[in-house]
């Protein structure tokens, strides 16, 4: 499963990580695999759509993770 990391979540990690999908995988489990604390993630996108971290994931999903950021 393709996971795209942005901003500080890239530090000491690759920009794009390939994570093996397993049945029942959700956002929390995914973050556990990557060693990222849930509180460090402010924006959790599945295929470009915002979701909560307890959303289930499919093998073909593309996930994007962002810490708290903003601008204008």
């Amino acid at each position: 499963m393709e996971v795209r990391l942005f901003a500080t979540l890239r530090e000491k990690r690759e920009k794009v990580v390939d994570v093996p999908w397993t049945p029942g995988l959700d956002g929390y489990a995914l973050l556990g695999t990557l060693g990222i604390a849930p509180e460090d993630v402010a924006i959790f996108l599945i295929n470009g759509v915002h979701h909560r971290l307890d959303a289930p994931l499919n093998a073909e999903d593309v996930v994007a993770l962002f810490p708290p950021v903003g601008g204008g």
Partner: protein
């Protein structure tokens, strides 16, 4: 009793070279707060809304807020209020840096410019001494050269000036201060240029912070606000680390990142121009405005010199919107914009519109005079920025009038991505519904900082809203617009609103001025400002049909990416928005005006 207002307005008549200090009506100041609100009120009381924006009869109000120059986080902002030559409607362009605070330290809340000088001149203010001086040697100089020359001539002065773009009456010219801070939008620089005024230098010798109504109360609420700003993930970490350009990847990942003049909404190469890449490859250090604890500014190196780097809108405008993937060219185009004294959003978007006109064969190669307007041509974004700024080449002169007039000239107004003739910023309103209602109803035309719906719709602040739904977006848009009008009037930076809410702004303003605002009355003050601006537009001849979006956003669904198939649903949101505002057919009803004391 002390208050953070100076209580003084400096009126400069450029026609007869007179300067006069007038008392500020403090009751009026409290009702309209300052900055954008009070500036609009002072302007409207003196100028006929149908005035030709570039005529001597137009005036310019340059005005601080009650928190400008106080010891509050980001207390440095000023506003330039006038009639826009670009939109024909109200213009109020905001800038940071230090100049606005120094104006208050020197003893003035505002400057009103009127008339037109016979020959180029500049103003030099040292506390209560004001003189008009010859600017023949400065006319034609870039923003940085002019600033440097004046800093040498008047040691310790803070300099506000225009560049070649303002002098040549480019309708997208900015007013600049400290070289790279810009009151950027709506062509306010052209209005200053039309008066033959090149610069205003200000030196304050007796104070470096404003006295306030209740020093202890302000200290306490400032301390609370500073803690919130530091602890907030956006203002305490995201913005300082990556600047505003961290948005490049976020907006692109949701498929709402306008690309090649909004023909697409996703750029597979966007990461090459992102805030992350800017930090990794170009960032020298952060840039800070006066009294700012955030430091979103980017300092980059170009040809061995440390200069202001691009922010999000600029990276997008010169980047993906022009098909550019090399930050080096974007940095140079940004610098050129600053040197010319032009608005980076309107300039880059006009170049993008010209590139689409070229792509479709409407602009011919021979018109490009050696620098074709081809997507991805890095040289083109730099060269055409300079040509627009200096008014060079026939096409450059035309482009300097903005994309609306450019595309009309070629018979294809649908290519101009504008609202009320002003270029739209970097969020596709087909994929993010709420930002569309604030674009369409912005009193100064296409703009994202008149109600930043991206905060709830994309960033989840203060709470997450589904970006493709319309639900209660009209209500959110109204509240965001009203709160923004308050912040723009206060003298603080809009970015504080990631960490602070209306309650904190009320506490800060009350402690500084002695007012008794609570959340409701403060938001009502913001609503008053928003309605006042709308009344100006009505009297200036705005047609209700101008509360709309470009045809492309209403009729052409997004073609690719994760937001594929979406269109703006403005027609469903607009009637509900007018109802929430107490407006009929785009304008306030008599009952609404009376309720707001207008």
């Amino acid at each position: 009793m002390a208050t953070s207002y100076c209580g003084k307005i400096l009126r400069i008549n450029l026609s007869n070279k007179t300067c006069r200090v007038e008392e500020l009506d403090l009751e009026l100041a409290e009702k309209f707060i300052g900055g954008r609100g009070l500036g609009t009120k002072l302007y409207m009381d003196e100028v006929c809304p149908t005035v030709d924006a570039l005529s001597p009869e137009n005036k310019v109000v340059i005005i601080s807020g009650p928190l400008t120059g106080t010891a509050t986080p980001t207390g440095c902002r000023y506003m330039v209020v006038t009639k826009s030559p670009l939109t024909g409607m109200i213009a109020s362009s905001n800038s940071g840096g230090k100049w606005g605070a120094v104006l208050k330290y020197a003893g003035y809340d505002a400057i009103i410019l009127e008339g037109k000088a016979e020959t180029p001149c500049y103003v030099n203010i040292v506390d209560d001494k004001v003189e008009l001086l010859d600017a023949a040697h400065l006319w034609g100089t870039t923003v940085e050269t002019c600033k440097h020359t004046l800093e040498e001539a008047h040691k310790g002065a803070s300099v506000l000036n225009i560049g070649p773009a303002g002098e040549t009456l480019s309708l997208v010219a900015a007013v600049m201060n400290e070289g790279e801070r810009a009151a950027g939008r709506s062509g306010v620089g052209a209005v200053v240029g039309s008066k033959n005024l090149k610069a205003i230098c200000v030196t304050a010798t007796t104070r470096s912070v404003m006295p306030v109504y209740d020093t202890e109360a302000l200290k306490a609420v400032t301390s609370k606000c500073m803690a919130k700003i530091k602890e907030n993930g956006v203002t305490g970490a995201g913005l300082p680390t990556y600047g505003t350009a961290v948005l490049v990847n976020i907006i692109n990942q949701v498929g709402a990142y306008p690309t090649r003049n909004w023909q697409h909404s996703y750029d597979e190469n966007a990461d090459a121009t992102s805030g992350e890449t800017l930090k990794e490859k170009h960032l020298v250090k952060n840039g800070f405005c006066h009294r700012c604890p955030i430091g979103c500014g980017r300092i980059v190196e170009i040809d061995g010199k440390h200069v202001g780097g691009p922010e999000y809108e600029t990276i997008w405008g010169f980047g993906s919107n022009c098909g550019i993937t090399d930050l080096e060219y974007i940095n140079r185009a940004n610098l050129m914009c600053n040197e010319m004294g032009n608005d980076t959003i309107s300039v880059s978007c006009t170049i993008a519109a010209a590139m689409e006109l070229y792509q479709k064969g409407y602009i011919k190669e021979e018109e490009c005079e050696g620098v074709p307007l081809i997507w991805g041509n890095g040289e083109a974004i730099v060269v055409w920025t300079e040509r627009m700024g200096r008014g060079e080449t026939a096409l450059g002169k035309l482009m300097a009038q903005g994309s609306h007039r450019l595309c009309e000239h070629y018979g294809h107004p649908e290519i101009a991505m504008v609202v009320k003739k002003q270029e739209l910023p970097a969020y596709d309103a087909r994929g993010i519904q709420g930002i569309g209602i604030t674009y369409a109803t912005s009193n100064r035309g296409g703009c994202h900082v008149r109600g930043y719906m991206i905060a709830p719709e994309i960033l989840g602040s203060p709470e997450a809203l589904e970006r493709t739904a319309i639900d209660d977006k009209h209500v959110w848009a109204k509240i965001f617009q009203d709160l923004t009008a308050v912040i723009d009037s206060s003298g603080l930076c809009l970015f504080t609103s990631f960490a602070l809410g209306a309650a904190e702004y009320a506490e800060l303003i009350n402690a500084a001025t002695g007012t008794n605002y609570d959340v409701n009355s403060l938001l009502e003050a913001g609503e008053r400002v928003y309605n006042l601006e709308r009344v100006f537009n009505q009297k200036a001849g705005m047609d209700p049909s101008e509360d709309t979006l470009p045809k492309r956003l209403l009729e052409e669904p997004i073609a690719h990416g994760v937001s594929k198939g979406h269109l703006s649903r403005l027609d469903e949101m607009l009637p509900k928005y007018y109802e929430a505002r107490g407006w009929e057919n785009a304008f306030p009803t008599q009952a609404t005006l009376e309720r707001l004391g207008l």
